[in-house]
């Protein structure tokens, strides 16, 4: 793992992976959307509203997977002081926040016709909203200090503290009475979704993951370039100062 902490080596690898990630995201999302919107049957009780699931559920998974990755990168940054881990944690935050937001919005749009309400303060919905705020807090904190390194460290600690929310989100529907129904896919005894509906769901989920990989590489590349520019500028200023 420590081998990849070298930015030059990371960039070489990332550049090699990028086209495959982009192609996989495009192919998986195209196939997933076709299945989700056209080639899958309506649900026996929810009719066509069930199609919201193919966006809602993969977005929720992304929100949680991105956060778990962010917490892991943050732990690596805090323990081993790898600047690259820190950079990846910060590059993941806006992606996770965006998917969590999509999850909350599609959930509201789905809740109104099915449950009869846009929003309910039940444990699942509330813990997901907290996840969204954790992302916002992380992004704000990372940029809140004049000395970037201090902000990054504070944000990394916030990311770790917020990680306790992940099991709460996952198991909220089992631990407490909630309006949200229990898990359908990742549960004991196998998924309770018909294969004709599970396939588009998993295709979309895989497509979202490939998209994340692609965006993460693009964002990390931009951050590394920005850091290089910063170093060059500082060197120039330093040299100009000595020249006088």
């Amino acid at each position: 793992m420590h081998r990849f902490a070298n930015p030059a080596r990371f960039l070489r690898m990332a550049n090699a992976v990028l086209p495959y990630a982009a192609a996989a995201a495009a192919a998986l999302l195209a196939a997933g959307l076709w299945f989700a919107l056209i080639a899958s049957p309506p649900d026996y009780q929810q009719k066509d509203s069930v199609r919201i699931m193919y966006i809602h559920v993969p977005s929720a998974w992304m929100g949680m997977v991105c956060y778990a990755a962010m917490a892991l990168f943050s732990a690596m940054a805090l323990v081993w002081k790898h600047p690259l881990a820190d950079l990846l944690a910060r590059a993941t935050a806006p992606v996770g926040a965006a998917f969590t937001f999509i999850c909350l919005v599609t959930g509201a749009l789905w809740g109104k016709p099915m449950w009869g309400t846009w929003w309910a303060w039940d444990a699942r919905l509330t813990s997901m909203l907290i996840l969204f705020f954790l992302y916002l807090g992380h992004m704000a904190l990372a940029n809140a200090f004049d000395d970037p390194a201090r902000g990054h460290k504070a944000a990394a600690i916030l990311a770790l503290v917020g990680a306790v929310n992940l099991p709460v989100i996952k198991f909220s529907v089992d631990w407490w009475n909630t309006l949200h129904q229990p898990a359908s896919v990742a549960k004991m005894g196998g998924p309770s979704i018909d294969p004709s509906m599970l396939v588009p769901l998993l295709l979309m989920a895989a497509g979202f993951k490939a998209y994340w990989l692609m965006v993460l590489i693009l964002r990390a590349r931009a951050e590394i370039a920005a850091a290089k520019v910063h170093t060059i500028r500082m060197a120039q200023v330093h040299a100009a100062g000595q020249g006088e």
């Binding site: 049957p41 529907v173 359908s184």
Partner: protein, 148 residues
């Protein structure tokens, strides 16, 4: 012990302590975290009358009766049940055997006067043909009761 090792152990210790703290808090706040009381929890938690609460469970099959604008039905879980009266529009998914959550107040007679009714749906997704085939072959299971 190297500095890195030290930081790693400190982090693991901190995360475990935080996890335990959060677990304890959530266990203590169980009654506030649950979104609704199931009929048997109403007695378990000794919920007072005239307090605005939510109850939830399955609509008992054969219990739905309309009297003008008032809909009466019985919400049950595995152990117990409660009679509910509601005036207003019901969600599309409302029907016998379906999970519901009702917000309102306990009456002195032990019944529940609902001001709002929401439908719950279960975690099973299948096409209509599959659902029909299951019903036909007798393998259909009504959705299980609400969470404990």
């Amino acid at each position: 012990m190297t500095r890195k090792r030290q930081r790693l152990y400190f982090l693991l210790l901190g995360m475990s302590a935080l996890g335990i703290a959060v677990t304890l808090v959530l266990m203590a706040l169980k009654q506030d975290v649950i979104y609704f009381y199931s009929p048997s929890q109403l007695t378990e938690f000794k919920v007072p009358a005239n307090k605005r609460i939510r109850i939830g469970g399955l609509v008992e099959v054969g219990s739905v009766a309309k009297e003008g604008a008032i809909t009466r039905f019985r919400v049950v879980d595995k152990q117990s049940g409660i009679d509910v009266a509601f005036t207003g529009l019901l969600p599309d998914l409302f029907r016998e055997g379906q999970g519901v959550v009702a917000e309102g107040k306990l009456g002195a007679d032990g019944g529940f006067a609902a001001a709002e009714v929401l439908a719950k749906h279960d975690e099973n997704y299948k096409p209509k043909e599959v659902a029909d085939a299951l019903k036909k072959s007798g393998e259909w299971q009504r959705e299980e009761g609400p969470a404990r």
